[in-house]
């Protein structure tokens, strides 16, 4: 059964000059124990999806249309009190920037414990600290470090502590919003490996959000490629990376320098991401697309199944 079913999600930000169409008509599903990677450049709307799922959009952000079915329940219509039951217990998130995501004046252990106390009324203090110790152990931190403040942790340890915090209330779905982006390669590899291990061990479902395709290739089974607020390609990681169909995906994969293989001249996608206040008509990639046709400027391509389990929104197919 699908843990999460997102249907036609449309999230816009209201600003003085109009609506910024950050996420437009996005649909995807996620099965139990599956990891989905959402890849895209900055401004493509991938973080907005994460914030919409948890309903923690900043001021001005509105879910204007669509459904978010989490374990069969639509989150869009829930009241704030009901939503609080879902957050952390149902869906939790590991934010990017391990440096600023923790409160500097509380001990790390207390911050992790807070999540447990809020979600399970009547747990004794001893139980809480025992569970905190266990959580820290799970992510590979010495349990005695629970009494440290965040500044006494290194970057990698803070990221681990954030993961421990996200796991505090035994969530079904874990969202990683650029985990590891601010970290060094070696620490990043350690963090990704930890996330993968945890997912397999605890049977978590996971959504990984990253601009780095290689991070997604290493951690996820399913991939959604976003461009300017829309999913342009969706499918099995192997099939998307081996046989990218959308011109944007092709360009993005080529733009990544690979550590393996011959030295090549890097290629890029000419032009820039569009202004989401006023996105290009029809296919939003048409001003930068090398295969642009008349129909691309007239009709919006729909996400269609091209191969089994591999969907693409492009008029070429």
């Amino acid at each position: 059964m699908a843990v999460l079913e997102v249907q036609n999600l449309t999230t816009h930000y209201r600003i003085l000059r109009g609506w910024v169409r950050a996420v437009d008509n996005v649909s995807f599903g996620l099965a139990q124990g599956e990891a989905l990677g959402i890849a895209g450049e900055s401004g493509s709307g991938k973080s907005t999806i994460a914030l919409s799922l948890l309903r923690i959009l900043p001021v001005g952000g509105h879910i204007r249309r669509g459904k978010i079915l989490f374990e069969g329940k639509d989150l869009v219509g829930l009241s704030e009190t009901e939503m609080r039951q879902i957050r952390w217990k149902g869906i939790s998130i590991v934010f990017q920037g391990a440096m600023n995501a923790m409160n500097p004046v509380y001990k790390v252990g207390d911050q992790i414990g807070e999540a447990i106390q809020i979600h399970e009324k009547g747990v004794s203090r001893a139980d809480v600290s025992e569970r905190v110790a266990k959580l820290l152990e799970t992510v590979g931190i010495e349990p005695s470090r629970a009494n440290n403040y965040p500044h006494e942790f290194s970057g990698g340890m803070r990221q681990r502590a954030l993961i421990a915090m996200a796991l505090a209330a035994n969530p079904t779905l874990l969202i990683g919003d650029e985990p590891g982006t601010a970290l060094d390669v070696i620490v990043q590899a350690q963090t990704l490996r930890l996330l993968r291990d945890l997912k397999d061990r605890l049977g978590l479902s996971m959504i990984m959000i990253s601009h780095d395709l290689s991070i997604i290739a290493e951690t996820c089974e399913k991939v959604a490629i976003m461009y300017a607020g829309k999913i342009v390609e969706y499918g099995d990681a192997v099939s998307v990376f081996k046989n990218p169909l959308h011109p944007y995906t092709q360009g993005l994969i080529k733009a990544f320098p690979s550590i393996k293989g011959e030295r090549v001249r890097l290629s890029s996608i000419p032009g820039q991401p569009p202004d989401l206040l006023n996105p290009p008509p029809a296919c939003r990639f048409n001003p930068r697309c090398p295969y642009v046709m008349d129909v691309c400027k007239r009709d919006e391509p729909l996400l269609k199944e091209q191969e089994k389990g591999h969907l693409v929104a492009c008029h070429l197919y």
Binding site: E41, S42, S154, G155, G156, D184, V185, I186, V187, Q188, A189, Q190, L192, R193, H211, D212, L213, S214, I215, A217, E218, C220, E221, A237, V238, F241, K242, G251, L252, I253, A255, F256, P257, S258, I259, K260, R263, V264, R265, L266, S267, S268, I269, P270, Q272, P273
Partner: protein
């Protein structure tokens, strides 16, 4: 009377402080150190007087990379180094010959040309600020050893990449070679001259030759200047370089129309076309990629021979990174300039650079041709770094052996080999003894006891 008495010791005190600031350097020997590359691929070292000789020759004006006939040795050599001889160095050096006559000779193309930039045991320590009692009680000074004994050189037209994690000292090194920061020890030879001992005034004409592109185009451009002014500023400061009738180089102030012409040309070279459309914009009216193009234009407008690019694309979107990189590489190749490319992304470094140096806690761990360093890394650290780089291929999900731990603090770094605390092959020798950077294969250097 009393005034005089007070003043004298004060002045003396000031002088001692000044002397202590640069030990050994203050003592002038009145000699210049020269090093020539000869046709048999060896070096010819010697000393020459700083003052013009009786025959009227002034050795101070010898030109870098020019061929000279050294009468005393009876050889022709290409000038690689010309710098002041420091007092303590003079005393400790082996008896170098003193040359008395050096004449211009015809260029011999078979003699190798000198490196644009050569670092010689470069060090940059930042003293740690501590409380008063700690300072009094502590025996030695505590330093953050950001760059520690780094030696390498960059050839003409070469793209040299410096890779390392954050905290490895790569940015500090980039700033020291441009003398934006003064080093704590060692030398930076730029076009054969030791720039660490030049005054700021002497540095100014050299700055035309050395430029930098910073990481963040949102912070490196003045928000109150229009693009035209940003690119024109180096031209206004440095003027135009010309040779007069006697063949001597001199600078000339440039007129407004001339400056505008150059700015326009530069803008079209960085593909901000038409230039008229971009010239009068402010930085905030441009995207990140366009801003970085402006930063590149500003760096190249004086036709420098050496550029430091400090993570120039890490703030940009993936799809436009390649454009900026290719643009810079093309400009460098076109003008035969050299570039020191600082990056944490070793995969990127592999594709764009000729050679790669891997830095860890201020020390050079491995140095060699880009392909060699990445495809057959020798140092355990380089191996760990490369295996940690994620690959955009979902089928290569291997059980990775990631080394544990994080980069230690550069204050009081590990003894011996700096990497021994995390190295899977560490043995006793690594704890006690610092491994030297040795050439293990042709053009492939590594600092590791496994290979010595």
């Amino acid at each position: 009377m009393t005034e005089k008495n007070v003043e004298t010791p004060d002045r003396d005190a000031k002088q001692t402080i000044k002397k202590n600031a640069k030990p050994g350097r203050s003592k002038k020997t009145g000699l210049l150190y020269v090093r020539f590359r000869t046709a048999d691929n060896s070096f010819l070292e010697g000393l020459v007087p700083k003052k013009p000789t009786a025959t009227g020759q002034s050795f101070k004006d010898l030109e870098f990379n020019k061929c000279y006939m050294i009468k005393d040795a009876g050889k022709i050599g290409r000038l690689w180094v010309l710098r002041e001889m420091a007092g303590d160095e003079y005393e400790s050096s082996k008896n170098l010959p003193e040359f008395s006559q050096i004449d211009e000779a015809e260029d011999n193309p078979s003699i190798q040309t000198g490196p644009v930039l050569a670092l010689d045991n470069l060090k940059k320590y930042y003293p740690l600020k501590r409380g008063f009692f700690e300072t009094v009680l502590a025996k030695d000074e505590l330093n953050v050893k950001a760059v520690d004994d780094v030696t390498f050189s960059i050839r003409k037209g070469e793209v040299f990449a410096l890779a390392g994690e954050s905290g490895s000292g790569k940015t500090t090194l980039g700033k020291v070679v441009l003398r934006l920061i003064t080093p704590s020890g060692g030398r930076v030879l730029f076009l054969g001259k030791d720039i660490t001992e030049l005054t700021d005034k002497e540095m100014k004409p050299l700055r035309r030759q050395m430029q930098i592109v910073f990481q963040d185009p949102f912070e490196s451009l003045d928000p109150r200047m229009i693009i035209k002014e940003i690119i024109a500023e180096p031209l206004r400061v440095q003027g135009s370089l010309e040779t007069d009738k006697q063949g001597k180089a001199r600078t000339r102030r440039m007129g407004e129309p001339e400056i505008e012409e150059r700015v326009k040309k530069m803008l079209s070279e960085v593909e901000l076309v038409p230039p008229e459309e971009f010239m009068f914009r402010f930085p905030h009216e441009m995207s990140g990629g366009q801003r970085q193009r402006v930063a590149v234009a500003r760096a190249f407008v004086l036709n420098p021979s050496f550029i430091v690019a400090d993570e120039p694309v890490s703030m940009l979107d993936v799809s436009i990174r390649a454009e900026i990189i290719n643009l810079m590489i093309d400009l460098v190749k076109k003008s035969d300039a050299s570039i020191l490319f600082i990056s944490h992304d070793i995969a990127l470094a592999k594709h764009i650079s000729d050679r790669i140096g891997v830095l860890y806690l201020g020390k050079m761990m491995e140095l060699g041709d880009a392909g060699m360093v990445v495809d057959q890394p020798l140092h355990p650290y380089t191996q760990a770094l490369i295996s940690a780089v994620p690959v955009p291929d979902p089928e290569s999900k291997r059980a990775k052996d990631v080394i544990s731990g994080e980069i230690p603090s550069p204050v009081d770094p590990p003894s011996g080999c700096r990497f021994h605390t995390r190295c899977p092959y560490a043995h006793e020798r690594c704890v006690d003894e610092q491994p030297p950077l040795l050439e293990v294969e042709a053009n492939h250097y590594v600092a590791c006891h496994l290979y010595s």
